[in-house]
């Protein structure tokens, strides 16, 4: 009897300490089993590196497939819902959170041409293992919009690309000038946004257009995430794949989901993993 009592007390103490330990240690219980990866985005226009000029510049650096000259004064895109996969079933899903508190924004990234700090996405908490594929959403989906006012890179007052009249984010933004555009100052603005589809029915047309785009890219090689290895895939994005065939004399003022749809359908093809650094 005495023995049984002791065993029970020991079990109780063990359970108590496990419970209280799990209480304190919510922060990083997996300290030694996860690592990091830095995903780098490099934007190009055909084979030229991308440069943004001052608004008003008439220095047309680039030429589209039909010979129309243009430059860029603003360029960028949102990335979210990043997922990494590996050959042995490895899986990393980047945590998502939309919040008013900029520090609590998780999983949303804004690549802004001209601000080199935004070119590198630093992923943390990746389970150790091998990876050979990255998937991400180009844009901001419903889960980043319908929570209401959000902060950080999603804050309209702090450079967030947000449509005020038709709530939603501009997933991919192109602004510049082209001598082919007859708008004031030869402006070109192609804002690709839209986050919901109300599908067509028997007698009703489709309403709204979801221009979020799933991009899924195999790596050129399998990389390893470990305590000592922090790989870095380099993704190249070529703007000409998106607007190379556009006629900038007419397609220079795009500001709605339906109008952006044709461009959105080309976005996935603009990204490629060029190489990976192990």
């Amino acid at each position: 009897m005495q023995n049984v009592k002791q065993i029970f007390s020991i079990i109780t103490i063990v359970i108590l300490s496990i419970v209280s330990y799990s209480c304190q240690d919510k922060e990083d219980p997996t300290l030694t089993t996860t690592g990091e990866m830095i995903v780098k985005f490099d934007n190009y226009v055909g084979n030229q590196t991308m440069v943004v000029d001052e608004v008003g510049s008439t220095n047309y650096r680039y030429t589209n497939n039909s010979g129309q000259k243009f430059n860029l004064t603003r360029f960028g895109y949102y990335i979210s819902h990043i997922k990494l996969e590996g050959p042995n079933g490895e899986l990393f899903i980047d945590e998502m959170n939309a919040s008013a508190d900029a520090n609590q924004i998780k999983g949303y990234y804004q690549v802004v041409q001209g601000n080199s700090e935004t070119y590198n996405i630093h992923l943390k908490g990746i389970p150790h293992g091998q990876y050979n594929k990255i998937t991400f959403n180009l844009g901001v989906r419903e889960d980043g919009i319908q929570e209401g006012a959000v902060g950080g890179i999603l804050d309209r007052a702090a450079g967030g690309w947000f449509w005020n009249w038709n709530s939603g984010f501009i997933n991919y933004i192109i602004e510049g000038h082209s001598d082919a555009s007859l708008r004031d100052d030869n402006r070109v603005q192609i804002h690709i946004g839209g986050w919901k589809n109300i599908p067509s029915g028997d007698s009703t047309p489709q309403r709204f257009f979801d221009n979020n785009v799933d991009v899924s890219l195999p790596f050129d090689a399998t990389v390893t995430v470990s305590n000592t290895l922090r790989p870095s895939p380099h993704i190249m994005m070529d703007l000409l794949k998106v607007i190379g065939d556009a006629d900038l004399s007419t397609e220079n003022n795009i500001h709605s989901p339906a109008a952006g749809k044709a461009f959105a359908s080309k976005l996935a093809g603009a990204f490629v993993v060029d190489h990976t650094h192990q």
Binding site: M1, V4, K5, F8, S9, T12, I15, L16, V19, S20, C23, Q24, S99, A100, A102, I145, Q146, E147, G148, A149, V150, G151, D155, R156, A157, A158, G160, F162, N164, W165, N166, S167, G168, I198, T204, P205, Q206, R207, F208, F209, S256, P257, A258, A259
Partner: protein, 352 residues
């Protein structure tokens, strides 16, 4: 063995439970506020994301300061309250059929009243704004309203020490950013609940609250108007063309959904407090309720996308005698919520 269970096992299980509960509770803050959003018993569940922005008295008061502050318009001349006036259920006054913004620029749509917004899914006449938090961004930035970038609004607030201190007190933030400005304004607008008219008292059980004429009006209303102006919000939140544009110049819902099937459709407005929100319709076409009813029974003509509940087989659907019109109007006036229209919590308390 049995006694052992009682002496050791149960107390230790209890201890484990207590510890476990103790660590769960840390994340929750105590809610001791008597000032909060309350759903009227006969209303549907609100759609607003209160989980991200719970209303409290200080946040409400900060939102009120912003709502009444003209310095947040480009030239300092216009506040939200210039176009959204409490005695008119936060609609514009009849002096301004199309709301006037900075430099008296005239808009093309009548300012709708503001109440029961916590229950709506989409905002503005065309429903382009999909969350209440985003509505002020459009109001600030619209050239015909306050004509100022939201970035500048937040900048002005951030440079104002009094505001800065209040934002810190309410939200615990050192630097004012966009979402908190929007949360404060939402807190103020969310408290605009109008559910205390004589109609509501009747619905909640006071048989004496409506007169015999008003009750007959209610019956007629349910027969002819209910399918769009659905109780208890008096809107089904859908988009319809009731034929108020002689020539379609405002595309309405089509601007947002980009299909011609939605041309000239507008969000069905609530009819609560309708007595004080003249002029009526998005284009402020009618000054009086009798004119509105005459439109439904005679004025309306065939038009692209005209609603089949309004016009069908070459004639208006809604047929009412003059007597019936009088009764419906009597009923509509029972939707006036005087406690809301004169509730002092919404009064301007800014010093300037």
């Amino acid at each position: 063995m049995k006694s052992l269970h009682n002496k050791v096992l149960w107390p230790s299980l209890l201890a484990i439970l207590l510890i476990w509960m103790g660590c769960e509770q840390q994340s929750e803050k105590p809610i001791i506020s008597f000032f909060q959003f309350e759903k009227p018993p006969h209303f549907p569940e609100p759609t607003y994301t209160f989980r991200n922005n719970e209303v409290n008295e200080k946040g409400f008061n900060l939102g009120k300061m912003l709502f009444f502050d003209p310095s947040l318009s480009r030239d300092g001349s216009v506040a939200c309250s210039s176009c959204h006036v409490q005695s008119h259920a936060f609609a514009d006054t009849w002096l301004h059929p199309f709301s006037f913004g900075v430099e008296d620029r005239e808009g093309k749509r009548n300012a709708p009243p503001l109440f029961n917004l916590a229950f709506h899914r989409e905002f503005f006449w065309d429903g382009g704004v999909t969350h209440l938090d985003f509505a002020p961004i459009l109001a600030f930035e619209s050239e015909i309203e306050m004509d100022i970038s939201f970035e500048d609004v937040v900048g002005r607030i951030q440079r104002n020490d009094a505001y800065k201190a209040l934002f810190k007190e309410v939200f615990g933030i050192e630097e004012v950013t966009g979402p908190y400005v929007l949360h404060a304004l939402s807190q103020f607008m969310l408290m605009m609940v109008s559910a205390d008219s004589r109609y509501d008292q009747y619905i909640l059980g006071d048989q004496q609250a409506l007169s015999a004429v008003e009750l007959e009006g209610l019956v007629l209303f349910r027969q002819h108007c209910e399918s769009c102006h659905r109780e208890p919000l008096f809107t089904d939140l859908s988009y319809r063309n009731n034929g108020v544009q002689r020539q379609i110049s405002d595309l309405g819902r089509e601007t947002i959904t980009e299909v011609s099937e939605d041309r000239a459709k507008f969000k069905v407005p609530s009819l609560r407090n309708i007595e004080v929100t003249s002029p009526y319709m998005h284009n402020a076409r009618f000054e009086g309720l009798l004119q509105v009813l005459n439109h439904y029974t005679q004025g309306v003509q065939d038009q692209e996308n005209i609603d089949p509940l309004i016009f069908k087989d070459g004639k208006p659907v809604i047929q009412l005698s003059e007597d019936e019109k009088t009764k419906i109007i009597a009923f509509l006036k029972s939707l006036t919520d005087n406690n809301f229209l004169s509730n002092p919590i919404f009064f301007n308390s800014n010093d300037r």
